[in-house]
Amino acid sequence: MAGVDQLNQVFFDGVAEGQLRIQQCGDCGAYQFYPRVVCKLCGSEHVHWKVASGRGQVASFSVVRRGVSADFAAPYIVALIELEEGVTMMSHVVDVDPNQVISGMAVTLTFRTVGGADIRPVFIPASKS
């Protein structure tokens, strides 16, 4: 994948194996996402990969009515998902009526093709999993 370095490749290798990989600091214990070569909290270089539980909640969301390009058929739901480990990631909420999405809604990890391109981690309502 263009522009992906070895560090980020570990994340995408995880996606290929059906895992959502985040990082945890070996010194202070903090989780972080996106992947970094250092812990953003304490500066330690002892950051390790962890497989996230895949449980989280919708921190905020928007139903996009005008897509960013022809590859993205509107409407689609762009959301910030707060994982139960405490980190936040951008993703989609799928398999749901856009009118039923609310902030705080419990969601669960799955994987889908996004934007007609690669398989990405996305989320479905926890009630459907």
Partner: protein, 386 residues
């Protein structure tokens, strides 16, 4: 030398709105030379040029290329790229160059042509490319969607309503209606905004800034030198910046921005409070951005931005006039230079040249801009010479 010893002495706006006869570089050069002439100076007096690169036609050495085109040979050239915040960050670097003796007289100039020299699809792609390339952009977020995430969070936290966000455009058009250079001048109602096309829930078309062509420039010099020039000096009283994150998915609080830091620093340096401001020129790229700036800069309490906007105080005749030119929601938004028209309008207000929009009393102006998604904030406080 303290900040108040630097003054704005020249100002110029090109044609604005839909401008097809000249592109970004030509507009930037026109703005540069126009501002120098407005200051009553010869081009040879300019020893610093600070510009913002074009998104439409980026060049590798933007300030240098602008100088070359204009026939300037300044001792210092710098292109600044802090997105929407560029205008005020550039203004601070210009002042710093003057304060430290690096330069005596500096032009800050910028222009772009996103309306006429870029297709809508390309403009959409360029703007949304501010997202993280591996962890945000693959999900197809548009720029309105980024701001919609903030709007939704504000609604969830404080009960802000879509009708309150709509007041941003109502206020903007009330001012733009009085400004012949504004691209959109028709008054709108809250219902008009609510009925406009859905873009990224909860934001509709009329919650979003416009897309324009145009440029502007200002000239800064020492206060001492400014006293010999035609226009009464407008002095820099305070400046602050704040940077909590770059990508929206890294924000720890979607409803509290680093404008709180930049505003606090600027007020402290100026030695004044929000109540001392007669004109606020804010960054209204999207309605929630305006609302949150009003809170974070201290004009109202956290969470009360919706009620504050809906009370009409920012409109003509209100106690806190905001964006008297019409702002980026109605006046001109060519891309990253958008905030410079808040500055050139402030200059017009200080000179008593704002016609129908003229404020009766103006001592202190607050200028604020931000880049990214409420990410990089810069605040300037202007005043008159004591």
């Amino acid at each position: 030398m303290d900040l108040a010893n630097v003054a704005i002495v020249g100002s110029f706006e090109t044609d604005l709105g839909i401008v097809t006869d000249r592109g970004p570089m030509a507009l930037g050069v026109q703005a540069t030379l126009g501002a120098i002439a407005d200051a009553g100076l010869q081009p040879s007096a300019i020893d610093g040029l600070i510009t913002c690169n074009s998104l439409v036609a980026p060049v590798m050495y933007h300030a240098e290329a602008t100088a070359e085109y204009a026939g300037l040979t300044p001792g210092h050239c710098l292109s600044v790229g802090t997105g929407g915040g560029t205008t005020y960050t550039a203004l601070r670097y210009a002042a710093a160059a003057i304060q430290t003796g690096l330069a005596t007289t500096v032009v800050v100039s910028m222009a772009d042509s996103m309306r006429s020299f870029m297709t809508r699809d390309r403009a959409m792609a360029v703007q949304s490319s501010s997202g993280h390339p591996q962890f945000e952009q693959p999900y197809g977020p548009t720029v309105p969607a980024y701001y919609a995430l903030i709007a939704r969070a504000h609604m969830d936290a404080f009960g802000t309503t879509e009708a309150q966000f709509a007041e941003a455009m109502v206020s903007s058009r009330a001012w733009a209606h009085q400004n012949p250079t504004a691209q959109y001048r028709e008054r709108v109602t809250v219902d008009d905004v609510l009925a406009s096309k859905p873009i990224a829930d909860p934001l509709k078309l009329l919650d979003c800034s416009i897309v324009s062509d145009g440029g502007a420039a200002v000239v800064l010099t020492t206060l001492e030198r400014a006293r010999d020039l035609p226009h009464a000096p407008i002095v820099l009283k305070g400046y602050g910046e704040g940077h909590h994150y770059e990508h929206i998915s890294q924000a720890t609080d979607l409803t509290q921005s680093a404008a709180a830091d930049s505003g606090k620093a600027a007020f402290e340096q100026a030695g004044i409070e929000p109540a001392d401001i007669q004109l606020a020129q804010l960054y209204d790229c999207f309605s929630p951005a305006l609302l949150i700036q009003l809170e974070d800069l201290g004009f109202c309490d956290k969470g009360a931005g919706g009620e504050f906007l809906a009370s009409g105080v920012t409109q003509p005749g209100g106690t806190l006039p905001v964006n008297t030119h019409g702002g980026m929601l109605s006046h001109c938004h060519p891309g990253n230079p958008g905030a410079i028209f808040g500055l050139t309008e402030a200059v017009r207000q200080y000179r008593g040249a704002a016609n129908e929009r003229q404020l009766a009393h103006l001592e202190h102006t607050l200028l604020h801009a931000q880049g990214g998604i409420m990410s990089s904030h810069a605040t300037v406080i202007l005043g008159r010479e004591n």
